[in-house]
Point group: C2
Chain length 431, copies 2
């Protein structure tokens, strides 16, 4: 049986999972594929660290260069973490004509353009299923299964940590800090959860999906990113009263002019919508294409096993590509879609929570400011008895641009009846 | 740009959809693929029939042989319907070395073994994404994305017509006949809905998914198939009282001994389960793999556009395979899984509805019979006031084999207190 040599750079949770399952399901993989995926070299930081899965010492190295340069390694798996060293490794592998498999979303979001340009020049495919939504084959589906469709929109819950936190806040009434601590204790949040919490992990994944869908790489400054760190238990409660659930949603859309918008932010979605019921660390991605219609994928978005599943699936394709290079190198640039819509012009509905003095005329003042900026109000609730002199006033607002809303909020916060900073969240009704 | 010649045999709803979208999204497809999919020949039954989409007369023929023999056709799309003629066409195309794309589930379920044997011999891939669940890329996902996983189970709502009927019965309280008529008027059921209603359409799809998952083709007599024609509005109502929703579910499982069971039947599933909330003509397939974990796919399972999306995705792969033949021919036989579990040994929980005389001692008699066959009772309800002397008695039963239950039901129907034939439905708790 043909042997395909694999090199793994990075032996953390996912790297170890790939190694474990390549060996554990070796027989199945051989039967299905007709060749064997054999790990020939592993680069890891500390060979003396005790590990639950211990690779044979003779294939271990501490330098990724040894993986790339090993003549018996035909496919290089990059699972190191970070950006600078992985970029060097990926470019070195491509230059040597070795197929790359990576799960590094930050690397692709920041350097996708140059990586895939090099990949095309050297006719070396780069696979990256594991970079988005773990075990859910969303990259393959958009690239291959939905090839016939213009992608109208993608809505994704693609950060398990923040979904776990929001779920626990909603279900157990925890505060953000309590839920975060629980997530860390349960192993669902890292010691430094910054990128999960501030939305950038989801944003990197959204940039990958958007680029794949629309054929160009966007910059970090083209997209609107807000994290969940300021979502309060009250917001979750008020949203629920109004029939909504708050999720960290990645939204990718193209309009009739083929302008693309990409944004990640805590979002009120109707509690009856299927995405509102994706809980805990699960991920889900809804894709709407002009030909395929509405689709949705659900599964584990992180963790050793689901992510290893995605890497091994890429390895299988990579091994097939070794024998018979495909026309595609993982990303096909084209110019059917022009550019990103300026963030100021992004239109959304909004949830606006104000802390106001509880006296007659306040609503008139607030409504007056909104009217001035041409922003319509769809409903108003005063969700609780007032505390001291101040009370919460929640308004659901019709479509408005980011710019309109920023200006209106700025003006509102100058009103004498408005205490504290107004809280603004976006609403997605999928209409 | 390279042109790839496509021939389409069958120009009904799906065939016309493929033609329409290949042309409508031609620019997008060319950009993404780097080649053009060009329809060079179309076989249809009646060239004079007026059609919403009219192909150019010069490429139309009434004989599928013209499609297969056309030297400019490299990929043959079979969308004729029926089994005998499609089989001849597919075998003829394979013998001529032409790649086949088909959406014909009955053909594959009945002749998959010989088709893929021929495909392997002639090194010609056969693609069939459109045969299961329309726009949902479940074939590709199982074959490629989940290649690393032993498939523990698949649970699918894969017949849109029966799901529409059951949804309408549950939501509007319609009878089966009323819901069927409505489905026909809405265009969701064919004039002859037999295969949708009796479970065999779903069973054909289940056989395809099971074969793909376990590496062998099973026969129609290896699987348990019941349709929805005998589901009553009462059963739906009683199930709801007990916290369940009735769906026509395809269940595919492998146990520790790697014996495979495949069954399609109306099934009580917990109303909180995500599959219970898949309504109308939508399809959903939940796949559980040992590495990937739980996943679920949701989308339109039928209709011109979603099915055309699947066919075009296969065409794209087929065109790539023309240049660089893959190791896989659409189905890889292996013997890691032995055989199907005998139907008699299939274990399930059950819902048993009896029509009994309303007098003391009846429950004792019924329970006695069940005890005799070692079948445990988890709950009993008498869901409504009695009508005449007879009343409904509903029992939820613990795990029992098919054989045990058949024997018990047989004995129960002989009891003098039991009127009418007992009604048995299976329960799936996904535990």
């Amino acid at each position: 049986m043909r042997q395909v040599g694999i090199g793994i750079a990075g032996f953390g949770t996912v790297g170890a999972g790939v190694y474990k399952h390549l060996s554990g399901n070796r027989e199945l993989l051989c039967e299905r594929l007709g060749f064997e995926l054999t790990v020939r070299r592993i680069a890891l930081r500390d060979p003396n660290k005790p590990r639950p899965i211990q690779p044979p010492a003779e294939i271990v190295t501490t330098r990724w260069e040894d993986v790339v340069n090993d003549p018996n390694v035909q496919i290089v798996v990059e699972l190191m973490g970070g950006i600078e060293e992985p970029l060097k490794l990926v470019m070195a592998a491509i230059r040597k004509g070795k197929i790359v498999v990576t799960g590094n979303k930050a690397l692709l979001a920041e350097h996708g353009k140059e990586i895939f340009r090099a990949a095309e020049q050297h006719r070396v495919p780069v696979f990256y299923e594991a970079s988005v939504a773990g075990g859910i084959p969303i990259v393959k589906s958009i690239r291959e299964a939905f090839v016939a469709s213009h992608i109208r929109s993608i809505h994704g819950i693609i950060n398990g940590t923040s979904n776990y936190i929001l779920t626990r806040m909603a279900q157990a009434g925890l505060s953000f800090q309590e839920a975060l601590r629980e997530a860390q204790e349960a192993g669902f949040a890292e010691a430094d959860p910054t990128l999960d919490i501030n939305g950038w992990d989801a944003a990197h994944k959204a940039m990958i999906l958007a680029s794949l869908s629309y054929g160009f790489w966007m910059g970090a400054c083209d997209i609107l990113v807000e994290g969940i760190q300021d979502v309060t238990a009250n917001d979750i409660r008020f949203a629920k009263q109004l029939g909504y659930t708050i999720k960290l949603l990645a939204i990718i859309k193209a309009d009739e002019k083929r302008e693309v918008e990409v944004r990640v932010h805590p979002t009120l979605i109707p509690s009856t919508h299927v995405l509102a019921n994706v809980n805990g660390v699960f991920n889900a991605v809804a894709v709407h294409g002009d030909v395929v219609g509405e689709t949705l994928f659900y599964g584990r978005g992180a963790g050793q096993d689901p992510t290893a599943s995605a890497v091994i699936s890429d390895l299988a394709e990579a091994a097939i590509a070794l024998e018979s290079p495909r026309a595609q190198y993982g990303f096909t640039p084209h110019d059917l879609y022009g550019s990103c819509k300026p963030i100021d012009e992004i239109v959304s509905q909004y949830y606006l929570r104000l802390c106001v003095i509880d006296r007659p005329g306040v609503l008139a003042e607030v409504a007056g400011v909104l009217a001035e900026f041409q922003i319509g109000i769809s409903s108003v609730i005063q969700p609780e008895a007032h505390i001291d002199e101040a009370t919460a006033l929640v308004l659901m607002l019709h479509d408005a641009t980011h710019k309109q809303m920023c200006q209106a909020v700025d003006r509102l916060s100058q009103l004498s009846c408005v205490k504290k900073t107004p809280r603004l969240l976006r609403v997605e009704t999928f209409s």
